[in-house]
């Protein structure tokens, strides 16, 4: 008995505080969300279990089909911009631009939105597309004698996809750049000598080499897009009339504007299930099992 205590004493002391923190801030919220989703908790903070009432309400919600459609469009298109635009930037700054000073400058510029506070970044978009004649776009249009337009009002999905796509691309860019840079230079030389054009080098050498980072970026961005709503909140706040409302934002609105905490938690729980399913699909799609399999050498 004594030896068991001695063996675990130090690890317990070292790990204890962090285990408590992880438990408090990671585990408890998950469990709480799970529990709250089956209650009718509201701003009064008293709650009772109401079985599947929240979910019945969610699936009979008149806005739910619009919100799901918006979520799908938002995640799909923003993800495409994030990943493929990020890849394009990475290829530009590593494979095509050989001078490190230029590519570093270029990448830094693309990183700038990440360093600015989200409120400022959102404000820039709002200012750019402001429907009044003082908006930047309308100011430019007036120079050519064109009438002011309200793009945020008419095409809210387009704006939030663009705003999130542009800022998210820098993440993929950084990951892909470092992955491309780690490909041995000899492989490019060999491909050159073998007569491979740029397209073939990208397809046959770069893409297979960055398959793992590619999968990581796709999955990571997918998960963060499913649950992120801060730029939508700041730019359109889901409007006009729920036209740019996504599931994550809806959960926020229900929980913190209508103070239906139980309902909000139920929406979050649905989101978690969707995220899990997406992860599993991508896991199969990228054949992760093959990739982490052992190699044979004799």
């Amino acid at each position: 008995m004594k030896t068991v205590i001695n063996k675990w004493k130090l690890p317990a002391v070292m790990l204890g505080p962090f285990l408590i923190l992880i438990f408090l801030f990671f585990f408890v919220p998950v469990i709480l969300t799970g529990i709250l989703a089956f209650t009718n908790m509201d701003s009064a903070m008293n709650w009772e279990f109401n079985r599947l009432l929240n979910f019945e309400k969610l699936f009979s919600d008149p806005d739910i089909s619009l919100i799901l459609r918006n979520t799908l469009l938002y995640v799909l298109f923003t993800l495409c911009i994030n990943v493929f635009f990020g890849l394009t930037l990475a290829l530009l700054t590593t494979y095509f631009m050989k001078k490190e000073q230029f590519s570093l400058l270029f990448r830094t510029i693309w990183m700038l939105p990440r360093m600015t506070p989200p409120v400022i970044y959102a404000l820039l978009w709002i200012w750019f597309f402001d429907p009044s004649e003082y908006g930047l776009l309308n100011g430019i249009r007036s120079l050519f004698g064109l009438p002011p337009v309200n793009i945020i009002g008419t095409e809210p999905m387009l704006i939030i996809i663009l705003a999130n796509g542009v800022i998210g691309a820098s993440f993929g860019m950084i990951i892909f750049s470092s992955a491309i840079k780690s490909i041995p230079e000899d492989l490019f030389y060999a491909a050159n000598i073998d007569g491979a054009p740029h397209w073939s080098i990208i397809k046959d050498i770069i893409m297979p080499a960055i398959r793992w980072p590619f999968m990581f970026v796709t999955l990571w961005q997918l998960l963060s897009l499913l649950t992120s709503y801060e730029y939508i909140l700041l730019i359109t706040n889901g409007g006009p009339l729920n036209e740019s409302e996504v599931l994550a934002l809806y959960s926020y609105h229900k929980a913190f504007q209508s103070f239906e905490f139980g309902y909000g938690a139920a929406i979050s729980l649905v989101l978690v299930v969707i995220a899990l399913v997406c992860t599993l699909i991508l896991w199969k799609l990228f054949k992760v099992k093959d990739m982490i399999g052992p190699s044979r050498i004799d």
Partner: protein
């Protein structure tokens, strides 16, 4: 294909020349080794021939045609890299077929030719493996097959055997030699291993600091080194070098004098020189004309013979003795060498004092003296 390099200069930092005014002519079908220590510019030279790097000055000719601005893919070359540079996600067959795919060879013919090339390097049974599933020697064969599959006119080998173990290296050496003779392809081999260069190449270009020090057949490099650097680099164990001074047609070392052959060497009274003797040329006992008395410091047995490390004039010289040679450490040993077997170099310039040597040719390094 005949390859000519004319006054090639390459600099990466605009201050120092990695390759300094290099001239080199390789005849059609010849096997040439670029030999030198690491950092002497061998790989830079090869990458310029391949078209990956562009020379700052000078011209490269393939069969008399200037190719400075020709893309690597249009140069009809095959190359094996030190790292093999195999495409990691492709199977052996696809790796070998890759250059043909880029040439738009129809799929059936492409696979046939790739299989043929794989057979040539005895890889026929591994076609569906990935490079990560192959041993170093097998990877090297894949790289070789990929380099020859498009029937290039020039084969470039960049230290192809440096990552292999000793026995595999000897096997691959024979393989490369056989393949080169069979295909009759002009080949340039980069190596820092003089034995590899000696056994494989028709001619060796010995390089130092971005210049070619001597370009000649292996036997000429061994028998008639143009300077101390070549003498030291070629041959194992390396040539014994002893400093001395010319005194009226004789060589003085310490207080001993030795007769020198005036018809072989430029002998200038008072000149400081370096005497060179190959370990194999030194005989035990005072049977030859130039005689030394030394003290045994170390005896090494290498199987078929023994190497004696003897101290003479405070310098350690190496010579060979028979397998059954017995002696105490510290014992005196007499040995001698034929006047015809010695080498003499100018101590200041490092150049050979041999009369037939290309004295004063600017192609050879100025400061290759003992270092």
């Amino acid at each position: 294909m005949k390859v000519e390099l004319q006054n090639i200069t390459k600099s990466f930092d605009k201050k120092t020349n990695t390759i300094d005014n290099m001239n080199l002519t390789i005849e059609d079908g010849e096997f040439v080794a670029l030999l030198g220590p690491s950092g002497c510019g061998k790989t830079t030279t090869m990458l310029m021939i391949a078209g990956i790097y562009k020379p700052n000055e000078g011209a490269i000719y393939f069969d008399g045609e200037k190719v400075n601005d020709l893309e690597p893919k249009d140069r009809e070359i095959g190359m094996v890299f030190q790292s093999y540079a195999l495409y990691p996600h492709m199977t052996v067959l696809n790796n070998i077929a890759f250059p043909l795919k880029q040439q738009k060879v129809p799929k059936k013919e492409r696979l046939e030719r790739a299989k043929e090339a794989a057979e040539m390097v005895q890889l026929g049974h591994l076609l569906n493996r990935k490079p990560s599933e192959l041993s170093g020697g097998q990877q090297q064969r894949v790289a070789l097959a990929r380099a020859i599959v498009k029937r290039p006119k020039l084969l470039l080998l960049d230290e192809p055997m440096s990552n292999l173990d000793a026995s595999l290296r000897i096997e691959m050496r024979a393989e490369i030699s056989r393949l080169q003779k069979k295909l009759g392809i002009t080949t340039i081999l980069i190596t820092h291993d003089q034995e590899e260069a000696m056994t494989l190449a028709d001619r060796i270009a010995l390089m130092k600091d971005g210049r070619i020090v001597q370009f000649d057949t292996p036997m000429n490099l061994y028998n008639e080194p143009d300077n101390v650097y070549v003498a030291k680099f070629i041959g194992t164990p390396p040539m014994n070098l002893v400093e001395g001074k010319i005194m009226y047609n004789k060589l003085q070392i310490d207080k001993q004098t030795y007769p020198m052959d005036k018809s072989r060497f430029h002998l200038e009274h008072g000149k400081e020189v370096i005497l060179g003797m190959r370990p194999y040329d030194i005989q035990l006992g005072w049977t030859e004309e130039i005689r030394f008395l030394g003290k045994i410091e170390l005896l090494e047995s290498i199987g078929h013979s023994k190497i004696i490390h003897a101290n003479v004039f405070g310098k350690r010289l190496q010579l060979f003795a028979k397998q059954d040679f017995q002696a105490e450490i510290g014992a005196e040993v007499r040995f001698s060498v034929q006047p015809a077997a010695i080498h003499l170099f100018d101590k200041k310039t490092g150049k050979s004092l041999r009369k037939a040597a290309p004295y004063g040719d600017e192609m050879f390094v100025k400061d290759a003296a003992l270092q």
